[in-house]
Symmetry: D2
Subunit: 337 residues, 4 copies
């Protein structure tokens, strides 16, 4: 931690702060420059997290030196984490595609889509049983029945299942049916839910909040890991900006930036990010070219009648073509698919 | 709903859409302009919510005519809602100040701050027992013990208590101790929690999400009201923008904009919005001048040692001076305080 | 400047940087903490502006200690700047209202509006002769003729005139006709124009760019002041955010934040910020309550027929009522009007 | 244009608006739905641009049906525009890389970098002679001398030159030396400059403003084209968002979105977008995978000593490796390079 004092700060102000640091077990190094006095904190600055040093008299600014996270960081673990999901490895050289309907609607439709995406090369089935909808008057998902349909689709296809959880109270049933627990963008800072899923070892797909910084994103992953669950995947799915021509702005720069900071795999969801099916393919290719470890793509056999997010769903034939294109891009950047 | 077709759309495309509308019980009015064909939907367009009309062949754009909410709207209820909180009316002519510490820490400190803010004219005590913290390594709140301290402070001062809930599983205990349930910014779209608090009639203070639009904010309030709870207050607390000189950007334009759209009271939290104690007073005055029905202000007797958000907490003497200033501003805009 | 090294940085990396600093005339203080080595730069860190220290091998982060501006800062000049505009003082205790049409259209309309706003208490006349319009097919302003109409209105009313300049080539004619040169939001970083107006002593009203940070805003003012023109007023006029229910988000927190950092007067334009006439009055009152030194308000005698921004223009009678209300708010916060 | 009336609007309100439309030469179609009365405008709605219909009594909302631009649109010209720059075609199947230093500094360095990027496969040389710098105390570019160095580099390498112009008064000299006029992000809405470059036929590289919407971006291109210059290239270079871990957020979704709306080529600048050299390569690959027609990349032989943006400059050897990788990605998406 570096603390800069205002030019008008008194010696007493500096002593007052140094005393406080000492009482917290930290030492100080005072540096008197030409225009400012600067105090460097020596010791574990993490004990200062949440300490309001900026309100101390005379303080102009406070700058941390260390990142506020630990277990998620590359410094803590040099090599990439590889997460095993029912035999499918995420985080290795192979780019993994997770595909399926936004919401689970009917048994046959779910199984049909699962079979179709499996044939095209998807390795994991996605599907929502609990749906967080902006309006209370929109379809809210089938709940437990939806999970059962997904289980049936897994039985038919062998694809492990990723599905979103909204409420810690559903976790028991959920753990029996899903292979990956998805924490949606709206729940990225639902800390009670993070703590809860952190106490199991079931893989977690953590989506970045709509306006979450890279820092907040990693701290939410740290919530899960610090409770013991090391199987965390990060998912960029578009952030909120001023641009309204597409639903969100897909932040692909987050891929290499995260890969520098953390050892966790980075997945990209071009479907929710763009909100328009015809933008999904170019963004999926871009994500792979930028180094994504996986993709989450919505596929529906009848988008016109989908109960949720039909606008962004690919028809199976379009998904099939996209998978062929993605293999070429993956190969071009030295990855398998 | 107004559906515009692309210039290259065929008659078949138009028929296909009109058929779909008919199957949903809606009629269509087709208008052939010089450059575009436009279909107007006649009937209750709310049945179209979530229908992906934009994926229908030939469709260029889809524009709703009606707001997606109902119970929160001025159209539904012309007169202002006035919420009664243990005898304190929020939403009437009187501007109500809710003040107290960010986090409840110790019994004596809590009671002391409560007595102090009561003397200065605050009508409701705020204090956090469950704290949503960005980092897992920050103080997470006292939980049930915190609620008990707040209850003790209420007994001493007569001030009703507003406190934040993070987890529906805590609601039982919570309802016995708090007079207002606060839903924090991070939980504005925790729809399961909204549904849950919607099933009681305990007043709810719903904070706007960090990047929530006015529309999403009102739809979250609609979640609560549509479950039966009519006692909802909206709270603007700063939105996330590119500006990082202050924690968030306080969006005061939301006050008159919301008051045009909804009958619910609008509260402003200048403390969390700015994140700096010296910006709280001017923003509190601005909020009252813009027409806010209430304020939520953090006060701490020893900000340097506060376990949470000491940076933005006012000392009791500064809060006292601010209350005197706020009374003048309230009077200048025709409000009591 | 504080330079933090990565844990894996070598002694050679540190020497390499220290050498570079030395060659720039700066000394270094090396501090070896438990987890990081930190180098503090001693000397005038402004010589480091634009130096890409972060690309030096082993460097993890670079944090400046001093603000990058000089003449605009409170540190450089403690007391508030007061700008004289034809006898009207901006920056003193009196809140100054500048009002008039968005665009100058016809002589009689311009004079009529000027007389009306003068009667209501406005002290400066605003009006656009050169209009920066998003679309090339929108009305682009009357140019020189518009400036002549403004001059005629000044003759009739005695109100000094503020008008926007778009092109340095118009400056000669402009200086003869306008009392204040307005630099619009879109030109806040048109540095050639800033340098040009900086070489006169005509007062400048510098509007904040749509997505300009406080830091960039002050550096643009520094461009003007560093060329010799000390008569700069800053104008907050709304920033671009994700919220689209109003045109921009008026950032009133910028008022006290700027007043802490700089001695220059701060003006607020609630008309362009909101883009809706019915939101102008509450935001104008809020701006005064937050400490604004002046307001810029659009008034038009026939908004339905205005050639520019009729949506946000107040009718003269509404402006008159607003001025009465503003006087009360100004008095409540200890200001004259 | 679709105009929706409030439920409380009177017949007189509707007549008043219809009269106004008639006086502008437009016909109206009135549709009386169950909850709202809607007026559709028949005729060329472009005459309504800038008309403040929303202030007419009783009006609830106004929605345009047509895009506000004309010449830039796909509807106006179906096939892709291909711009010829001294024999290099931009907008065809071949992805064109423009590379060089951020700022031109010295003759030998400029020529050396030009030779190096030419060898690696760049087809156009970029280099700044006039530099728009946030701070007045940063290096402002060499001006005319810089243009001469670029001309010398062109003579040595045969590479056409793209350079930024800041001031219309420099245009004469500029036209003699540069092959492409770059309009920087800060000048995207410097409409006088757009009009000026629109009156020549020299190719223009128009960069997207930091917070410009797709709509504003296209309207700025329309400014240039409506003056006669058809040789416009669009350049995405990152937008401003809340995320500050990288300089800007590169909005790659703009590539397919623009290609749907316009026939103009789309270039991407990953260097300015990210501001960090180690993020440039993944983002360059992602841009090509997403369908970009070209790239603008900063290369410097000695980034540590670069006078501008050394942080984001690639060393020649890294640029060389990147070009090899880009060729693979281009081929994977069916493009040449």
């Amino acid at each position: 931690m570096i603390i800069v004092f205002k030019p008008e700060a008194s010696e007493q102000d500096i002593e007052h702060l140094v005393d406080r640091l000492r009482s917290l077990g930290l030492r100080s190094q005072i540096s008197r420059g030409e225009e400012r006095i600067v105090v460097g904190v020596i010791g574990d600055e993490r004990v200062l997290q949440g300490q309001p040093l900026s309100v101390f008299p005379g303080v102009e600014s406070v700058t941390p030196i260390l990142a506020p996270w630990k277990m998620v960081s590359r410094e803590f673990q040099k090599q990439d984490s590889v997460i095993d999901i029912g035999g499918v490895q995420v985080g290795g050289n192979r780019v993994v595609v997770m595909a399926g309907p936004c919401a689970v609607e009917k048994l046959e439709i779910t199984v049909g889509i699962a079979q179709s995406v499996a044939r095209s090369g998807a390795r994991i089935l996605r599907g929502g049983a609990y749906k967080p909808r902006t309006s209370p008057y929109s379809f809210q998902g089938l709940g437990q029945e939806g999970l059962e349909f997904l289980t049936a689709a897994r039985k038919e296809t062998g694809l492990p299942v990723v599905s979103e959880i909204l409420d810690a109270r559903d976790l028991g049933y959920f753990l029996e049916h899903a292979d990956v627990i998805q924490i949606g963008a709206r729940n990225m800072q639902n800390f009670e839910l993070l703590k809860e899923v952190g106490s199991y070892d079931k893989p977690v797909l953590l989506k970045r909040g709509l306006s979450a910084t890279i820092k907040e994103f990693l701290l939410s992953a740290e919530y899960i890991m610090s409770r013991g669950n090391q199987n965390v995947m990060l998912c960029e799915r578009g952030i909120r900006t001023f641009e309204s021509h597409y639903r969100n702005t897909l932040d692909l720069t987050a891929i290499p930036a995260l890969q520098e900071l953390t050892h966790l795999p980075v997945i990209v969801d071009p479907s929710h990010a763009t909100g328009k099916w015809n933008l999904v393919a170019p963004m999926a290719k871009a994500a792979v070219a930028a180094g994504a470890d996986g993709l989450l793509i919505e596929v529906h056999s009848d988008p016109e009648c989908a109960l949720c997010d039909g606008e962004e769903s690919l028809k199976p034939s379009r998904f099939h073509d996209l998978m062929l294109d993605l293999q070429k891009v993956a190969r071009a950047v030295g990855r398998d698919m």
